[in-house]
Subunit: 254 residues, 2 copies
DNA sequence: AGACAATTAATGTCTATACATTAAAGCTGA
DNA sequence: TCAGCTTTAATGTATAGACATTAATTGTCT
């Protein structure tokens, strides 16, 4: 490659972080060590580190050094990160009720499953999120056991797989699809709604590099959940401040 | 302020861009001119400009200079920027049908209108977006005439106010609320749907600095519209690639 | 006039150095 | 012991200069 040196340094460290070789919280070499490693001036490594810090991948502390940042919920502009946290933060009691949890091979004919699984197996997790014992959303999730073998040891009989994944598996790409759909019989039954009720539907796939991690489909009770995102355009794009549960009379058109 | 010099330079230029004093396409001073203006070294102004470039606010071209970037749709992670463009891009014919267009004072009791209008008036625009003559969404929009007096001259009898605003009025903050609601009688009638059908509801407010620009509420036909956002976490957050019209059988839970 | 080459004005990268700032770590004394 | 001071190792900011790279401009030759 003929990339500028500071870019090469940056992407080497970035790769180490994203691959998991450098785990969240780990300390990375000091600028002086990096100068020696790459035989360059301090400004050059500083530029690389500044860029990583600006992207939120690392935290830098004077006298202490630079550390791999723990993945911050707020950096994910459209993720619906941690229902558990959102619900408890509002003073409600959160519960995840596991309905199904099986290891399966990807279905032939379901391209997205095959693409996600690669040559390995999938963990299928289905369940319902409750706030104060009122159902808030149903979730059906597939996790690649190739990408995340550790998840096999997790029970998820009370906490949700989403929260666990967010904490332990960094992703590099995500695609989110948002729509409004009527509740079918199964969803309606699980959410305790009349069939046909409007539900917010969210489907999200995440990858780490080329490797698929998870595919999740969630149906939220339309009258109880809004997704809210705030952001500033110019300053750091990562300023989403809130994603909140419960809407009021949002449907009123004026 | 005791901000570092490169930050002060950055924010001064940024303010000039966001306020409209420096318009898109305008050329800004060369690094040498800025060195003289701020009596500092070239690396310092370079740092400021690099930061602006990284944020997508300016484009830099060797030999030519640095220019204010034209606002890019893609840098807005959750904006639903230009329905017109999305529809035509899919090979369909787009039409905006204006239903109402009045100047009004903010209603007492509607806090959001008062907050938006400040001491001035509001332009209320209501209409329907069509793709190939099939209604896709209804929209009710308020625009602050204080912030955007130029909009009074626009007709919007065929093109939508959203497209116009995106092009001519840069914003600094946005808040988007997304939900799923049943169509009420009025919405159902305008969208040619049975009442109660699931609709994707989007409400967005945007500001430039402290000044409110617009508040828009849109109801999309649930069975015809999905919002899709892709992004990478680490690399530039601004990599949303698509927001697409039309869903298929997304409601199937597996 | 038009193709091509040379000039040059801008940004891009990098070095080497200096001093400022912060906070961890160690030290000292009541 | 522990509060408070001092040291010090790290990042943060800035300077001044060198050379590289790119592409707009200008000049030259046909």
């Amino acid at each position: 490659m003929t990339l500028p040196l500071h870019e090469r340094i940056r992407s080497k460290i970035e790769a180490a972080i994203l691959s998991g070789a450098l785990r969240p919280g780990a300390r990375l070499p000091t600028e002086h060590e990096l100068m020696r490693e790459y035989d360059c001036a301090r400004m050059t490594v500083s530029k690389a580190l500044s860029s990583l810090a600006a992207a939120g991948l690392i935290d830098r502390r004077k006298r202490a050094g630079s550390f791999v940042a723990r993945p911050k919920v707020h950096s994910m502009v459209l993720d619906v990160p941690d229902l558990e946290q959102e619900v408890t933060q509002r003073g409600q009691r959160y519960r995840f009720e596991l309905a199904k949890r099986i290891v399966k091979r990807p279905d032939i004919g379901h391209d997205e499953e095959i693409q996600l699984a690669g040559s390995g197996d999938l963990l299928l997790i289905e369940g319902v999120h409750f706030a104060d014992d009122v159902p808030l959303a149903v979730e059906a999730r597939l996790v690649s056991l190739t990408a995340v073998p550790e998840i096999a040891a997790q029970a998820f009989d009370r906490s949700s797989p989403g929260a666990w994944l967010i904490r332990y598996v960094p992703w590099t790409e995500a695609e989110t699809r948002i729509g409004a759909v009527p509740a079918n019989r199964e969803v309606a039954a699980r959410l305790n709604l009349p069939p046909g009720s409007a539900c917010l539907f969210i489907e999200r796939r995440t990858w780490r590099g080329d490797e698929g991690i998870t595919l999740v489909r969630q149906h939220f009770v339309g009258s109880a959940y809004d997704l809210i995102a705030r952001f500033g355009s110019a300053r750091s794009m990562a300023e989403v401040k809130k994603q909140s549960v419960q809407n009021g009379d949002a449907s009123a058109q004026e």
